[in-house]
């Protein structure tokens, strides 16, 4: 079982690779910064679609709909919490 820090690091790597973010390193991503919107990683709605695939592929957690995506995709830290909570339920 990963610690939260390990989960966040793994998530950052998966996000950079899965979303093919150029010129972004793990160090550039603030765990508490928003993933979407006008600050933080500034991902767009199509990134959200790819992020659903990344989370399922790398962490085995399915995000079924937009409601769950809104809850999960707040920040890297928030997403790590979401994944940990879902894994704990399983």
């Amino acid at each position: 079982m990963m610690t939260k820090n390990e989960m966040e690091s793994a998530l950052k790597v998966a996000i950079i690779d899965g979303l093919r973010l150029e010129d972004v390193t793990v160090e550039d991503i603030d765990s508490s910064a928003p993933l979407f919107g006008d600050s933080g990683l500034m991902l767009d709605s199509l990134d959200a679609v790819e992020l659903v695939v990344v989370v399922e592929k790398h962490f085995g957690v399915a995000i079924a709909d937009a409601e769950e995506a809104r809850k999960a995709f707040t920040s890297v830290s928030g997403l790590a919490d979401f994944i940990c909570a879902r894994k704990a339920q399983a």
Binding site: R20, E22, F36, G37, M42, L43, D44, S45, L46, A48, V49, E50, V52, I63, A64, D65, A66, E67, A69, R70, F73
Partner: protein
Amino acid sequence: MQTKRPITAVLGSRLQYGFFEVLVRCRVLFAARIVLAFVVLYYAMLPHVRQRCAAYIDRRFPRAGAWSRFVHAYRLYLNFGQVLLDRMIAGVTGRFPFCETDQHVRQRFAEAGANPHGCIVLTAHIGAWQVGIAGLEQFDRPVNVVQLHNPEDQGKHYFQHGRGRPFKIIDSADPVGSMVEAAAALRRREVVCLMGDRLHGTRQAGQGVEVAFMGGSIRVPASAYALASITGAELLMLFTVREKGVTRVFMAERLAVPAGLPRRDVSVFQPYAQQFAAAMETVVERHPYQFFNFYDMWSQ
């Protein structure tokens, strides 16, 4: 980026829509169309209203004089009014008139329906697109439309919340949920409809791609092509027009967007966007009074 407000948000007060609704509910549709002709004439006489379609009229009718330009503007707005009235009739009565006469269209949908990743319909603010998209439910699958929610548009109220609810709206302003919801619908093999002609100033797929259109260049969104490439869904461009009072599909053609395109470079979608723009031009050549983008697309 500043965005221009769509004409539907400006023309037509709640009172005017209410008046037409009374006529529609009383089933005096002929009277409603007569009143509409005069209401449109009033609006067409306002210079700032005519100005909104001037860029299009200039390109579509380059040799038109002042009087002809007025007539073209009037006919354009009258057609727009007719389409809005059709939409209201459909919303109020729950009947969605859709006349699909072409076997070719049915064939295209059968092919698209065979794709296990769903079907994206790419259309434009041309003709009776909303009534036409509503008619797609004839193909026995739920229809979702990704569009900007505009609470000021009085006319949409009748259609989207009236009887029958012809399709589900996915609000494109939601940066997290909109495309996730669209992708989830595609996984259920539903139809997802996106507009391919207007940029709404979002960061979605960058700022769109530039295409040649009616002798100039415009920027159009790349979201539909990107979504098709990510999900593997079928991409069908489809235009519905209002012809002799009947809504019918004018064109339904497949766009073959390969899976896994590097979408960070939005120019990879340019060839498909150009195909779409060329198709729009074909529709506009045949139906010049059914192009409902009331702003200067060429100055963006």
